[in-house]
C-alpha cells in the first residue's frame, strides 16, 4: 500500500515532520475506511472527468475554426473512451501495482481488469476502487491535453493510435516512477497533482507531435482567430472548478490538506489571470478574454505540482511566475521557433508544469509559508531531485513520442489531405457540420 499512494503518504509524512501539532485531518489513522474521504474523492473524480468532458473539449473547441470544432470534441471523446478501457486493462496495474524486480521502472500485471481488487480493498482511507477511478480521470485528461497540439489537420485514426500508445509508453511509466513507487518516488520527488506526470509529459509530447505532423496550412500568417471565445471561457471555467477536484482530490481525503490545496490552486489561477491581463493591457492596450483565460490555465497548471506543499504566498508567487513565463513562451514557440503547437500545449502546460516543479523546492519552505520539505532534506538536494526528475521525464517523453509517431505512420497517415484540411475536418472526417442555424 505504501507505494500505491505515495503521493498522499509523502504529503502526510512531510506535513507531520514539519508542523509540530498535526492537523485535525491528519491525526486520524490512515488505515481505516473513511466515508468523508470516500465522498470527497468520488466527488473529485466527477470533477476531474468534467474537466475533460466537456471542459477541455470546449476550451480547445472554441479556439479552432468552426469547421474543425466537432473534430476537436471527437478527439477528446474518443481519447476518454479508449484510455478508460486501456487503463482498466493494463494501465492502472502497470502504474500502481508492484512490479517486482523491475518495480523501479514499471508495475506488474496483478490488477489487470481489477482482478483481485475487492470491494474491501483499501488505499489509505478510501476503497481502492475509488482510488482507481480517480486516477483514471487523470489518465484520461493527460493525453487529451495533447489534442491542442495537432487540431485542424490530423487524421482521426492517427490521433487515436497515438493517444493509446502514448498512454502506455509515456503516461503509465512516468506515473509509476513518481506516484506508483518507482525510482523517482524513492528519490523523494515532489509532484503533488501532476506537474511532471500530467503537464510536462503532455506539453513535451505536444511539441514533438506538432513538429512531426507539421504546421497548419497558412501558419503562422494566415491563421484564423478562435471561432468562439465565449466557448473558450466556458471551458476554462469548467477546468477551473474541476481543478479543485484535481488538486484537492490529490490529497486523497477530505481534510485540511485538501482545503489548502484548493485555496492555493484558486489563488494561483486568479493571480496568473490578472498577470496575463496586465501584460496584454500594457502591451496591446486592451486585455482580451482569450488571454485572460489562458492565464487562468497557466496558473492552474503551475500550482499543480506544488498544491499540497505550499501556502497562500506560494500560490501568489506561482501565479505570477506562471502567467509571466507562459506569456513569453507562447510567443517564443509560435513566433520565434514557428512551431505550430496550435493551442499552445507546450507553452502553457509544459512550461507551467516545469515551473511549478522547480519552484516548489523553495516555495515549500516555511519561509514562504510552505509546509516544509521532508525531514532532513535540504533545498539544494530537493532542487536537484526535482531537476533530475523533470529532465528525465522530458527526455523520455521526447524519445517515446518520436517512436510512437514513427510506428503510427507505418499503420496510417497522420495528416489529412490539403483538400480535407481546407474543407475542415468536421465534414471530411465526421460528415457533420458544427452549426446549422
Amino acid at each position: 500500500m505504501k507505494k500505491v499512494s505515495a503521493r498522499c503518504l509523502e504529503f502526510v509524512s512531510i506535513a507531520a515532520a514539519v508542523i509540530s501539532v498535526p492537523s485535525a485531518a491528519l491525526a486520524q489513522e490512515t488505515t481505516k475506511f473513511s466515508g468523508g474521504d470516500t465522498a470527497w474523492i468520488m466527488t473529485a473524480t466527477a470533477l476531474v472527468l468534467f474537466m475533460t468532458l466537456p471542459g477541455l473539449a470546449l476550451f480547445y473547441g472554441g479556439l479552432v475554426r468552426s469547421r474543425n470544432f466537432l473534430s476537436v470534441l471527437m478527439h477528446c471523446l474518443v481519447i476518454c473512451c479508449a484510455t478508460s478501457v486501456v487503463w482498466l486493462a493494463v494501465g492502472y496495474t502497470l502504474a500502481f501495482s508492484d512490479g517486482g524486480t523491475v518495480n523501479q521502472f514499471i508495475g506488474g500485471f496483478d490488477k489487470s481488469f481489477l482482478f483481485g481488487v475487492g470491494l474491501d480493498t483499501l488505499n489509505g482511507t478510501i476503497p481502492e476502487i475509488v482510488f482507481f477511478m480517480f486516477q483514471m480521470t487523470f489518465a484520461i485528461i493527460t493525453p487529451a491535453l495533447i489534442v491542442g497540439a495537432y487540431p485542424e489537420r490530423i487524421t482521426f485514426l492517427g490521433m487515436l493510435l497515438f493517444s493509446v500508445f502514448w498512454l502506455l509508453l509515456v503516461y503509465v511509466p512516468v506515473t509509476h516512477w513518481i506516484w506508483g513507487g518507482g525510482w523517482l518516488a524513492d528519490m523523494g520527488i515532489m509532484d503533488f497533482a501532476g506537474g511532471l506526470v500530467v503537464h510536462l509529459t503532455a506539453g513535451i509530447s505536444a511539441l514533438v507531435i506538432a513538429v512531426m505532423v507539421g504546421s497548419r496550412r497558412g501558419f503562422p500568417r494566415e491563421v484564423n482567430p478562435p471561432h468562439s471565445p465565449g466557448m473558450v471561457m466556458i471551458g476554462a471555467s469548467m477546468l477551473w472548478v474541476g481543478w479543485f477536484g484535481f488538486n484537492g482530490g490529490s490529497a486523497l481525503g477530505a481534510n485540511s490538506g485538501a482545503g489548502m490545496a484548493i485555496v492555493v490552486t484558486h489563488i494561483s489561477a486568479a493571480v496568473a489571470s490578472l498577470t496575463w491581463m496586465v501584460i496584454e493591457w500594457v502591451k496591446h492596450g486592451k486585455p482580451s478574454l482569450i488571454g485572460f483565460v489562458t492565464g487562468t490555465i497557466a496558473g492552474l497548471a503551475t500550482i499543480t505540482p506544488a498544491s499540497g506543499f505550499v501556502g497562500p504566498m506560494g500560490g501568489i508567487i506561482l501565479g505570477v511566475a506562471g502567467g509571466l513565463i507562459c506569456y513569453c513562451m507562447v510567443n517564443v514557440i509560435k513566433h520565434r521557433f514557428q512551431i505550430d503547437d496550435s493551442l499552445d500545449v507546450f507553452a502553457v502546460h509544459g512550461i507551467s508544469g516545469l515551473t511549478g516543479t522547480i519552484l516548489v523546492t523553495f516555495l515549500a519552505l516555511p519561509t514562504f509559508g510552505g509546509l516544509g520539505l521532508a525531514k532532513g532534506i535540504t533545498a539544494s538536494h530537493q532542487f536537484w531531485v526535482q531537476f533530475a526528475g523533470a529532465a528525465v521525464t522530458a527526455a523520455w517523453a521526447i524519445i517515446a513520442s518520436v517512436l510512437i509517431i514513427w510506428v503510427v505512420r507505418l499503420i496510417t497517415p497522420m495528416r489529412v489531405s490539403e483538400e480535407d484540411e481546407t474543407e475542415g475536418l468536421d465534414i471530411t472526417s465526421h460528415g457533420e457540420r458544427g452549426y446549422n442555424l
Binding site: 484564423n224 501584460i279 496591446h284 482580451s288 482569450i290 489562458t294 510567443n331
Partner: protein, 112 residues
C-alpha cells in the same frame, strides 16, 4: 424601376430605415455582409499574437423603387448613412426589368 443597393455601417441601419419612410418606401431587404475596402479592418490579439482581420461587418440594403423616387431614395440613404468617416459605404443603382408581388401577382410598381 430601380433596385438601390447600399452597403452601410451596421449601426446606421435604423437611421436609414427611418429616413426612407417619409418617401413612401414600404419595404426593403437587408443582409449581413463583410466589407473589404479602404477602411481596412482591425487587429485582434490572441495570446499575444496579432491577427489582421481584413473585413469589416457591413449591412447590405436592397430597396426596389419606382424610377421617379429613386433619386430621392439615394439621397436619403446617402445623408442618413453618412458619418463622414471612412467606411461609410457605397450605393449602387440597377435597372429592374420586371417586378412581381408573389402574394397577388401584381407587377411593376404595383408590386413594390
Amino acid at each position: 424601376m430601380k433596385l438601390i443597393m447600399a452597403v452601410i455601417k451596421p449601426s446606421k441601419l435604423d437611421d436609414v430605415r427611418s429616413s426612407l419612410s417619409p418617401l413612401g418606401v414600404t419595404g426593403m431587404t437587408v443582409s449581413e455582409v463583410k466589407g473589404f475596402g479602404r477602411q481596412g479592418g482591425h487587429t485582434e490579439i490572441y495570446r499575444g499574437a496579432e491577427y489582421a482581420i481584413n473585413f469589416v461587418p457591413k449591412i447590405k440594403i436592397e430597396v426596389a423603387v419606382a424610377d421617379d423616387v429613386a433619386e430621392n431614395v439615394v439621397l436619403a440613404i446617402q445623408e442618413s448613412a453618412n458619418t463622414g468617416k471612412i467606411g461609410d459605404g457605397k450605393i449602387f443603382v440597377f435597372d429592374i426589368s420586371e417586378a412581381i408581388r408573389i402574394r397577388t401577382g401584381e407587377t411593376d410598381t404595383d408590386a413594390l
